[in-house]
């Protein structure tokens, strides 16, 4: 197997000769591997991020076995950790530029492990053992843009374990950073070196009778088959185990049956009823697991219920809408709100009424042209203002109706109503087109009824004291101040003010006064009545409290020539007739002479009283008494 050395008898063997023997033997071993073209990583050395915490190292699994291109064996029995922060010469592998990346290559390289040092005959230290070993080498390629950065070149005497990607600011190498696509796995022998026998083959027809050619032919056949370029076998050639509702035994028949079954619309066995579906969650509606048919039926029910629902349908905001004209919203809710906002807008620049169109409306003298509602309103307003401001030539009053909600008129339009009103008042008033327009002619009143009919009520002064009313009853006309008649009694207008009245009748005239301050009253506290038709009719007859003050006097002379008792007297007539005879008469002197005491009085009645006095006077003496009286009744 190897070149040999033939050592001979009594040959004195040198170090070099012994080393040559081992070298030839070792070379034979390596030549065998090289001849068979055996190289690559046989097992182990599988890369992974460092455990337990990833960093910038990569762990390799053990044991690792490999042969390089020279047939040199490499082996390690324990796991290895490769520092990827620097390359084999100590240069950092960091990526400086953001957006770039750098690829590293981890290579396995043969190395001898020297050991067992000894001293040779020249007193030099040598290592007696030179074991086969290995070393791991990190090589870096230039950094480049992500996706296009180059990878380190393969080395002739090294095996690539994996490529590792470095990124800017990277502190950990993760599984995604490790690429084994270029890993130099073990190759046992070259396919071109192994022959095959093709005589019995019916499909494969390799270009040569080698394993490599056979594999190439098989690959070509499979490629054609898999890419459907050629070598497509018929679906009928693919077995199919009947399953479910498909009873066919090959794929062609099964697919046909499946299509037919899915396409059928047969009642009770339609295709949709054969397609299963899982449950679908949702609110307010959810679909239980079942068939497409069952869920379609439920969906149809939900949809019909929704479409028919007068209330409770989904929010308008969930209905998409296409912007149109001035409406920019993209759903129904937004568009409705926008439409409302636009329609109620009052800004002069874009009022809502400007968004509403109107067709032409014929009319005379004013017509409305087709346009916006605002333009129509402008036209109408102009027409109305023109009409209102029109001094003459407007439509006739007979064209204006009268509602007459109070049912006061017979007329049905303004013209007739004005005429009716004027007809009603012109008999007692001067018309507007006559002199003294609006002033009364005669004031005439028909019977008004009531115990006292109110003829006039005038409070022209605004003061209750002169609030004048005129009433009429069956016998008298009453002129009252500060008093009104409510049908049964007199009512004082102002509580702190006297009431006065004057009553005029055919047979009598009466002045009336009320000073009780009562809110209501039926009799006047004082009255002065002139009885015009009575036999006694020369004075007013009084009622109520009467107090009269008047004058009386007497004077007389004793015409005798000696002292005598002289009597004197007279009578007083009251200015008015008292309601009754006075109950008190007081005589007060104003002036007297020769008079003793006070005259006496008596013989009183409602018209007056008498007075007298007895005085003792000397001869030719005169006595007089001038005074006044106060009579009350």
């Amino acid at each position: 197997m190897s070149s040999r050395l033939d050592f001979f008898f009594r040959q004195r063997v040198t170090e070099a000769e012994l080393d040559l023997a081992f070298a030839l033997l070792e070379q034979a071993d390596r030549d065998l591997a090289a001849d068979l073209n055996i190289y690559g990583i046989i097992s182990g050395a599988v890369p992974a991020p460092h455990s337990p915490v990833p960093d910038l190292t990569v762990d390799l699994t053990a044991p690792g076995r490999a042969y390089d291109n020279l047939g040199q064996r490499m082996f390690f029995g324990t796991g290895q950790t490769v520092d990827c922060a620097v390359d084999l010469v100590g240069i950092p592998t960091d990526v400086a530029t953001v957006g770039n990346e750098r690829w590293l290559g981890i290579f396995l390289r043969f190395k001898r492990q020297l050991s067992d040092p000894r001293t040779d005959g020249n007193s030099q230290q040598v290592f007696f053992r030179r074991d086969e070993s290995f070393e791991l080498v990190v090589r870096q390629a230039p950094e480049g843009a992500i996706g296009v950065a180059p990878k380190p070149a393969l080395q002739a005497d090294e095996l690539l374990v994996c490529d590792v990607r470095r990124r800017p600011g990277q502190t950990q190498i993760l599984a995604t950073d490790i690429d084994t696509s270029r890993r130099q796995a073990f190759i046992f022998a070259q396919g071109t070196s192994v022959a095959v026998t093709t005589g019995t083959w019916s499909i494969l027809q390799p270009l040569a009778a080698t394993v490599q050619a056979a594999f190439d032919e098989a690959d070509a056949e499979l490629r054609d088959h898999f890419t459907a370029v050629a070598r497509r076998h018929a679906a009928t050639a693919i077995d199919y185990a009947p399953h479910g509702f498909v009873g066919a035994g090959n794929v062609q028949a099964a697919v046909d049956e499946l299509i037919d079954d899915l396409a059928t619309g047969a009642v009770g066995s339609s295709g949709a009823s054969r397609v299963g579906v899982d449950a679908a969650a949702g609110a307010p509606n959810a679909l239980p697991a079942g068939s497409v048919k069952s869920q379609l039926a439920q969906l149809l029910g939900f949809l019909n219920t929704h479409v028919s629902a007068p209330t409770g349908a989904h929010n308008a905001a969930a209905i998409a809408a296409t912007p149109h004209n001035n409406v920019a919203g993209t759903n129904v809710q937004a568009q409705l709100q926008e439409i409302v906002t636009d329609l109620i807008a009052t800004g002069a620049s874009a009022p809502g009424v400007g968004l509403v169109g109107v067709d032409a409306i014929a009319g005379a003298p004013t017509a409305i042209a087709a346009g916006t509602l605002r333009a129509a309103l402008v036209t109408l307003l102009g027409g109305l203002n023109g009409h209102v401001n029109q001094a003459s030539g407007a439509h006739a009053a007979s064209a204006v109706s009268v509602a007459d909600s109070g049912n006061n008129l017979n007329a049905a339009n303004v013209e007739a109503a004005l005429a009716e009103i004027l007809d009603a008042v012109e008999g007692d008033h001067f018309r507007g087109n006559e002199a003294n327009a609006g002033q009364h002619r005669a004031i005439r009143q028909p019977p008004l009824g009531g115990t006292k009919a109110l003829i006039l009520d005038s409070n022209a002064s605004g003061a209750a004291a002169t609030h004048l009313r005129i009433y009429a009853d069956g016998s008298s006309v009453w002129f009252t101040l500060n008093a009104s008649w409510d049908g049964a009694q007199w009512v004082r207008d102002s509580g702190g003010t006297f009431c006065g009245a004057f009553r005029f009748a055919r047979n009598e005239i009466e002045f009336l006064h009320e000073d009780s301050f009562a809110a209501t009253f039926t009799t006047w506290t004082r009255t002065w009545r002139l009885p015009m038709s009575s036999t006694v009719n020369s004075a007013f007859e009084l009622t109520g409290s009467v107090r009269e003050v008047g004058r009386l006097a007497m004077e007389f002379t004793n015409s005798y020539n000696a002292t005598r008792t002289v009597a004197g007297g007279g009578s007083v007539t009251f200015r008015n007739r008292f309601p009754a005879a006075p109950s008190s008469i007081t005589l007060s002197v104003n002036s007297s002479g020769g008079f003793s005491g006070t005259p006496s009085t008596g013989y009183a009645d409602r018209d007056g009283f008498g007075f007298f006095s007895y005085q003792s006077l000397g001869a030719a003496a005169t006595a007089y008494w001038f005074g006044s009286y106060t009579a009350i009744a």
Binding site: S545, R547, P579, S584, I585, L587, S588, T598, G602, Y603
Partner: protein, 141 residues
């Protein structure tokens, strides 16, 4: 002016001339006014006012007097007081000498019991407003 109140012993009078209030003892009063040989038995002369010497004569209502046309007025109430005073004096014999033996013949008109209870429940006294009216004063004067 008039009498305001009659108590059991005296008469309260206010002078119509000077407005002085005079309290006159009833025992000093007599019914009747002599004139020659006649006597006016409807009159109750009061003493002269000490201040102005005015003299008031109270006059009983005539026998033929009609019913007072303004019952409730101050004049009506005063008339009742005078009639009752006249009747009481006659009843007690306080009359002038010529009537001493003729009191039974003197016409009197005392206040009916029911009327007295209704109009003078608190005694024979005129209400304040009636006094003012008889004085010729308006309310508040």
């Amino acid at each position: 002016m008039a009498i305001q109140e009659i108590t059991s012993t005296e008469l309260v009078q206010r002078c119509a001339k000077c407005d002085r209030e005079n309290r006159i003892v009833l025992a000093d009063l007599e019914v009747g006014l002599d004139r020659d040989d006649q006597v006016e038995d409807s009159v109750v002369p009061l003493p002269e006012c000490p201040t102005c010497h005015s003299r008031e004569f109270l006059l009983r209502s005539p026998e033929e007097e009609q019913e007072h046309p303004a019952q409730g007025s101050a004049g009506y109430l005063h008339r009742l007081l005078v009639d009752d005073l006249h009747a009481e004096l006659v009843k007690k014999g306080r009359v002038v000498a010529r009537l001493k033996n003729k009191t039974a013949e003197v016409f009197t008109r005392p206040i009916a019991t029911e009327l007295k209870q209704r109009l003078f429940e608190k005694g024979l006294k005129l209400p304040a407003r009636a006094v003012e009216q008889l004085q010729g004063k308006e309310p508040g004067q």
